[in-house]
């Protein structure tokens, strides 16, 4: 009988939030297909995390344990999980779509002659798996066919961690065979980028600027709005990539997570990697000349228009209102 295997990721010796979301997705897929769900936790010391997982509605929890899995390497993880998947023969393998998973899951799938359906945001009948295309401007529905497991990674925030069903599961130990010589990369300790001098995380008002601004010379347009609102200035990734604003002002999956009362997105398209950083915002205002820009899907108020006309007008209106 087929089953669903969800691969759990640890971060700083804890189960990452997005792993709980992947578990919720696995349970929902399991309910849809009437399949049992098992969780695998790879690492060097997985006992306590496995115990935590055992309190969930799972057929079993597998500790994939080996000293060479203490630090993540693509070679170690690909080999360990290949062995596990060959032994368990699940019909579906789900992962959280984290930076770690995107670094090895495509190779794992390829080793088994399969293709990962990555960054999944929803599961439909069939099952079909939806994911974004064209930087969020389109949704695509994907279907797996043929023999062999279907590999899925789920996008952060697409499923709810608190939907994970409680229960009780048995814990099994799986010891993969890994030789030190198989591991070809040597990972260093994580380090922080430049010192953080702005705390966007606690800002109440944020004006955030994207590639619609065209060039650094146009930044005063948004700086003036930020000043009028008493807001911090933030940006999408390309603005920081181009060096127009320092990286510490970047919002999104590889930047800061913010939760202001007001987030004004100016000339930002609304790619998923940006949106995950602004989920906690109370009110989102989007200004974009493209009526189909995905940012409008998450905005409370939208203005379709040229930011070079709209933003100065808002700045004036805010100033007038504050007098």
């Amino acid at each position: 009988m087929s089953s669903i295997l969800v691969v759990i990721e640890q971060r700083e010796a804890r189960i990452s939030r997005i792993s709980w979301e992947a578990l919720a997705a696995a349970q929902s897929l399991g309910a849809q297909l009437s399949l049992p769900v098992a969780a695998a936790i790879p690492g060097a010391q997985t006992e306590s995390l496995a115990a935590e997982l055992a309190g969930k509605a799972l057929a079993k929890v597998v500790r994939v344990e080996h000293p060479l899995l203490s630090a993540y390497t693509p070679d170690g993880f690909t080999s360990a999980l290949e062995q596990l998947v060959r032994a368990e023969q699940p019909g579906y393998v789900l992962f959280p779509h984290s930076y770690q998973v995107r670094d090895y899951a495509p190779a794992l799938a390829a080793r088994l002659g399969q293709v990962l359906i990555g960054d999944v945001t929803g599961i439909g009948d069939g099952p079909t798996f939806s994911r974004q295309l064209m930087q969020g401007r389109l949704n695509g529905a994907y279907r797996h066919s043929g023999a062999g497991p279907c590999f899925i990674s789920v996008q952060s925030g697409a499923f709810h961690a608190d939907a994970v069903q409680a229960g009780s599961a048995q814990i099994a130990l799986f010891t993969p065979t890994i030789e030190a010589a198989q591991i070809r990369t040597r990972p260093g300790e994580p380090f922080r980028g430049s010192a953080q001098t702005v705390d966007l995380g606690s800002a109440q008002f944020i004006v955030s600027v994207g590639r619609g601004i065209k060039g650094a010379e146009n930044l005063p347009v948004v700086e003036e709005l930020a000043a009028a609102l008493g807001a911090e200035l933030a940006a999408s990734r390309p603005i920081c990539d181009n060096g127009w604003l320092p990286m510490e002002r970047q919002v999104g999956s590889s930047g800061q997570t913010v939760s202001p009362k007001l987030y004004v997105a100016v000339g930002i398209s609304g790619a998923i990697q940006h949106l995950v950083g602004i989920k906690g915002s109370q009110c989102v205002v989007a200004i974009n000349k493209d009526p189909d820009a995905p940012i409008f899907e998450v905005a409370d108020y939208g203005i379709v228009g040229d930011l070079f006309e709209v933003v100065p007008a808002i700045t004036e209106a805010v100033k007038a209102a504050k007098q």
Binding site: M134, Q135, N139, G140, A141, Y142, H144, G146, E316
Partner: protein
């Protein structure tokens, strides 16, 4: 060092997305095409490595004839030569299928380093580099911002989530998926554009590479995204919408 850079031609960022009659892809007739953004950063890193350590930069792209313009752009920026896999059925291949095609062209070249972009701006699989490493039996690292050549191989700077980084050491030959933003992109000079015309572009057909089209994952249909929140669109002149917005923020959202 011999470096291959895999470059994909993708719809230009602000190209209109209209779903075609088949419902599986967009109308391509009137759109402009561009070099995938992270591939431009991969090319830049390759050119800088060549400037420091000498060697050769080879561009590899699979796509229909129009991909030739993006290949010329890469040559104009300084790549030495190119391989164009002429392929009109990219859309029928899944990520593994495209990677098999690329791998078949890469193997006989035996590069010291293969760079890909992190993610294509159209399909956004973010997988091709990692799969290529698997198919070629090479070590890899992804989300790379910077590459340093060492006596033993490479030290690369990898981006982690939320503003963290990590250095990774690995031997060569290796495959790296390059993230954007690691360095400043150069522009093609007039001289570069002129020179590009005389550089070698070898065309290979997908058929002669004998990579199977069979795919295990299929894109069944595409659709415009659904709105998650009920967005109020404010319309009028700039001045009117600005006034309406401030009203709303003051009296409806109560945050001003």
């Amino acid at each position: 060092m011999k470096i291959i850079v895999a470059i994909k031609q993708v719809p230009e960022r602000e190209a209109p997305v209209r779903i075609d009659a088949g419902g599986k892809w967009i109308e391509e007739a009137n759109i402009q095409w561009a070099m995938n953004e992270s591939d431009a950063y991969a090319l830049e890193e390759a050119l800088q490595l060549k400037e420091k350590h000498s060697g050769e930069v080879v561009v590899l792209s699979a796509g229909p004839e129009r991909a030739g313009t993006t290949i010329r752009e890469a040559l104009a920026k300084g790549a030495d030569r190119a391989i164009h896999i002429a392929c009109d059925d990219l859309g029928d291949r899944d990520a593994l299928g495209v990677a098999r095609l690329l791998a078949a062209a890469i193997k006989p070249e035996n590069p010291d380093l293969l760079l890909t972009g992190l993610q294509s701006d159209d399909l956004g699989y973010g997988q091709t580099g990692v799969i290529l490493a698997e198919l070629l039996g090479l070590p890899h690292a992804s989300l790379i911002l910077h590459v340093e050549k060492t006596d033993a191989g490479l030290t690369v700077k990898r981006e982690l989530e939320e503003g963290w980084f990590q250095n990774i050491e690995l031997p060569i030959p290796a495959v790296l998926s390059m993230q954007s933003g690691g360095s400043k992109l150069r522009y093609a000079t007039l001289m570069g554009i002129k020179r590009a015309r005389t550089k070698e572009v070898r065309t290979l057909s997908a058929a002669e590479l004998a990579a199977p089209v069979a795919s295990s994952v299929r894109l069944e249909r595409i659709a415009l995204p659904q709105k998650q929140k009920s967005t109020q669109i404010l319309s009028g002149t700039a001045k009117e919408t600005a006034a309406a917005l401030v009203e709303k923020l003051k009296f409806e959202a109560r945050i001003l």
